[in-house]
Amino acid sequence: MSDIVIHVENLGKRYRIGERERYLALRDILARAASAPARLFRARKPSSPNGDPTHIWALQDVSFEVRQGEVVGIIGRNGAGKTTLLKILARVTYPTKGFAEVRGRLGSLLEVGTGFHPELTGRENVFLSGAILGMSKAEILRKFDEIVAFAEVEKFIDTPVKHYSVGMRMRLAFAVAAHLEPEILLVDEVLSVGDLEFQKKCLGKMGKVAEGGRTILFVSHQMNQIRRLCKRALWIDAGGIRADGPAKLLVNQYEAASLAQGEVSAAQARGSITFGRWQVEASGTNVLDLDQGPDGVVIRIQARVIEPIRKGKYFIHLKDANNNIVWSHLHYDLKLDPGPVTFVQEFASLPLVPGVYTWEVRVNNGHIWSEFMLAPEFSIVSRTDSNVYGHLKGFLNLPFKLRLQAGSADEDLQRMTGLIPPRGRNA
């Protein structure tokens, strides 16, 4: 018996451009047929793989093998094909060519909360989500208490999840998936959400799963997670495998490469500036620990100016995990000469709820806007966070104290709010 559990050979996946983004209407088919009758038929043939402008290969000629018990990190930029690879292995989508062979029960965790229904209670959703992920009813029943304890939602288990906070929902969803106990587990970026404490717990759980001799394929943009969890890494770039080797080595190479060129897409590369690493000055990383040190926060963003910028605009957004803009700033009259530059941003304080955020930068030079999502993400953490159950909502973490005063401060107010009956009149 060989111990190779995943064997992938010449795997390729082609998408029609725009296919993922929008659905077809009959009108489109008719329009396409009218403009070029032959194309309707040609599009079906998988013969002309390259040079066809209407299709792109999200993945091409990917071959590798994974042995039992290996924990493999998959790294690469956005759009490199990491998720496509996982989706093919998870059988969510078919490959266009090549094949993969998988030995053993496979579980996939491509998203947290798959199949959750907001109207159903936590308990009901555990069963529903468990069944969708491939567990039998008996299995879910057996693990139910463990799942609920892991998610720390015992008190709310019979409340509809629409009343849960994002954090609670995620914890419950991950707990279900974490107890799937497949022989091979595919994980996509799901640990980048949630509070730090829970992330640690999830990582711990995954580590345990790996120690149990199970195989894990793990996509993440958080290089620290890859370093901690994985021995081996696959670096996917432009739909192919760029490197396959020890995780630590590859992560270092990948980080160096990202730093050199910034996380720029092809369209952005034409602009007059590229952005590289950024960091919180106090920690030298992407993590801001609210418990530590003085209030002031300095964010340093490195960039390289390619063409001179005159009368440019610098527009920066801070976005939360749900893509809400939490803060933004527009700076006019940007004047920069070619060469490296650091944008130093000083905040008197950043009173934000712990979580994962991203910086988004736009620079305007003349008529061209260049847009960048800075890597890595921005983690705000706090050990003393009172939001243990994730039931707090909102963005701000304002300095706040609650005082309770005994006795009636204002009788009229209490009367208005009905706490004591109205005086006289119709009584």
Partner: protein
């Protein structure tokens, strides 16, 4: 000890799953589908749990819809238009036809929408996709059951005893489910690709209602065209229901034969088409 042995046995021969580009029309993995029966159960259960959440009168809707339609039909088609009714009281005549019709129309709508509604799940997890239209068709049976109880009450009120034909009722119910599934399979796969389908559905259901013997008996259709009329599978289903439940009228022989053949074609074709689209659904939905 035996446990450990059993585990070892599992370890020795893990199933090898081959993931390759799709091919063929009818290599549906029925074994896998059977293994997913618990998932089907959960989808149906979810549908039923959620259906009447946040409604004021809840499952009463399952009764109100066919009942009010029956009242309107009895008034206009019955009392005013004097439609022949196999000698049945109009309320019974119409309600017995509306039972399968309402089920069919509802199941059709649910089955059409289900793939698109569940796109979040479809694009993230693998399971036999057939479970989705199946669940839509099965979960409609609850509403059917509720409105059926009302029908029993009406039968008692009008003191009508069903004949021996009632024994065939389960067959007609099965035929109704198969019809809904057959059409639902086509429409749900089509709807995933062409969203035009959802605009077509209301028309389709309306036209289909008039093309089916709900408001009138099929005996209005000339004898020699009856077989052609049977190409509408709901014609056989509805006349079958009426006959089996009330014992009035004649067994819809030719109609039923043609309808049954048509249903088999629809389900077979639907399975093949749905299966063909299954591979691309996650990419286009």
């Amino acid at each position: 000890m035996t446990n450990a042995l059993a585990e070892q046995a599992v370890q020795v021969e893990p199933p090898v799953l081959r993931i390759a580009p799709p091919h063929g029309w009818l290599d549906i993995d029925f074994k896998e589908l059977w293994a997913a029966r618990e998932l089907l159960y959960f989808f149906v259960w979810r549908d039923i749990k959620v259906r009447y959440k946040q409604t004021a009168i809840g499952a009463a809707w399952a009764v109100i819809q066919p009942f009010m339609t029956m009242v309107v039909f009895s008034l206009f088609f019955g009392k005013l238009a004097k439609m022949p009714s196999h000698g049945l009281p109009y309320p019974i005549f119409y309600y017995s036809a509306l039972l399968p019709w309402m089920y069919f129309a509802g199941a059709l709508q649910n089955a059409t929408a289900v793939v698109v509604e569940q796109q979040q799940v479809i694009t993230k997890v693998y399971f036999p996709r057939l479970v989705l239209p199946l669940s839509a068709v099965v979960s409609g049976l609850l509403d059917f059951g509720i409105s059926f109880v009302v029908f029993l009450g009406m039968m008692a009120y009008y003191r009508i005893m069903p004949g021996l034909a009632i024994l065939l009722f389960p067959c007609f119910l099965l035929l109704a489910v198969a019809t809904a599934l057959g059409v639902g399979l086509w429409l749900s796969a089509l709807n995933a690709i062409y969203r035009d389908v959802r605009y077509v559905i209301p028309f389709l259901v309306q036209f289909w209602l008039f093309a089916s013997p709900v408001a009138y008996p099929s005996s209005l259709v000339p004898e020699r065209w009856r077989w052609l009329y049977g190409l509408n599978p709901m014609a056989g289903v509805i006349e079958g229901f009426r006959w089996a439940l009330t014992g009035h009228g004649q067994p819809p022989n030719i109609l039923l034969a043609v309808s049954t053949a048509m249903v088999l074609l629809l389900v077979g074709g639907g399975l093949a088409y749905f299966h063909k689209m299954e591979g691309t659904i996650a990419d286009v939905v």
